[in-house]
Subunit: 218 residues, 2 copies
Amino acid sequence: MIPIITAFEQSPDRGRGLARDMPVRWALEEVGQPYDVRLVSFGDMKERAHRSLQPFGQIPTYEEHDLVLFESGAIVFHIAERYKGLLPNHTGARARAITWMFAALSTVEPVIVQREVSLYLESDKPWCEERLPIVEERIRSRLAELGARLGNQEWLDDAFSAGDLLMVQVLRRLSGSNILDDYPNLGDYVARGEARPAFKRAFEAQLTVFTGKADTKR
Amino acid sequence: MIPIITAFEQSPDRGRGLARDMPVRWALEEVGQPYDVRLVSFGDMKERAHRSLQPFGQIPTYEEHDLVLFESGAIVFHIAERYKGLLPNHTGARARAITWMFAALSTVEPVIVQREVSLYLESDKPWCEERLPIVEERIRSRLAELGARLGNQEWLDDAFSAGDLLMVQVLRRLSGSNILDDYPNLGDYVARGEARPAFKRAFEAQLTVFTGKADTKR
């Protein structure tokens, strides 16, 4: 049995690969593990059946025999532990790669998501325009720090890892803005991630769901 | 050599155990591993020496021989992998515990931190009062979902794990509000976490730093 993940039937990002099935697809492509996709509607996600897999009513989930996981970070980590290619063998390098996984999701992503909260959830509020630059300044602080650490390295540690996969995916959320333009080494870093064959296959797979050309089981 | 962590010289939470050294101390106490603490001032944190350990200029860090880690979630995970007591042995149960670690930091904590952003960073803004209930409603949605999943279980899975440690610690950030009162099973869950001897020892250790009775090396 190959793993089954869930993804949006109709992704709100219109196929830009910003939904949270994307890092899971990318991780599976990096390790060369085929997978099936079950598409869920916004209605399905909030039903008991889906919530029994994902208590917060979100995507993605990951099913493998009787194991059910959720949280894209945890699923990517499980894939990285179960298959070769996303975590180094050396204990120290492995711990550092895991550190970057948590840094991506716990330190960098939250400030970036707040920009989307401003733009999409609070766009009708009187404070939207005045608050957005404050939110963006918080993003810029984190990017300056991340860019300073990355320097002219190719990846955050010696070799591409699940930490880079999640960090690139988090930074991709800024693709609709011009914020990354001011951090050219981070822009190049994202481009290196997107140039990976595994990324491209994953991106194509989620795009075909949106364009209606997907060959997935329901 | 025993591990060395960094913590605030003067914690902004005034010893309430909400700073991010707390989950690391708690994890070390759960596994029975002694540790040293190096206190850092707000000035120190932004200097090159500390940033070489922690690129975002924050606490905690974790040093063990030549291994340097940051991100409290990653440090707790490293402790859980290195010592016994915070992750189950069975592959499936272990993956589920890790899922709850990511859920705590990536799904529950960000909405809770936004309340602190409103109260402390944006308290002087004209939108503060009108926006706070919106922020709190997002917290309540997540708590309702988490509480529904927890039900009348003692812990999120079969036994206490690093997932519970991080989730309890995240929920403790609400201790200055009355929000948890509306989710009694979550309140009880937090109380069960705080009743653990390891929690109490960790709490006491960080409190003595604030009260000036700490016996830590500088």
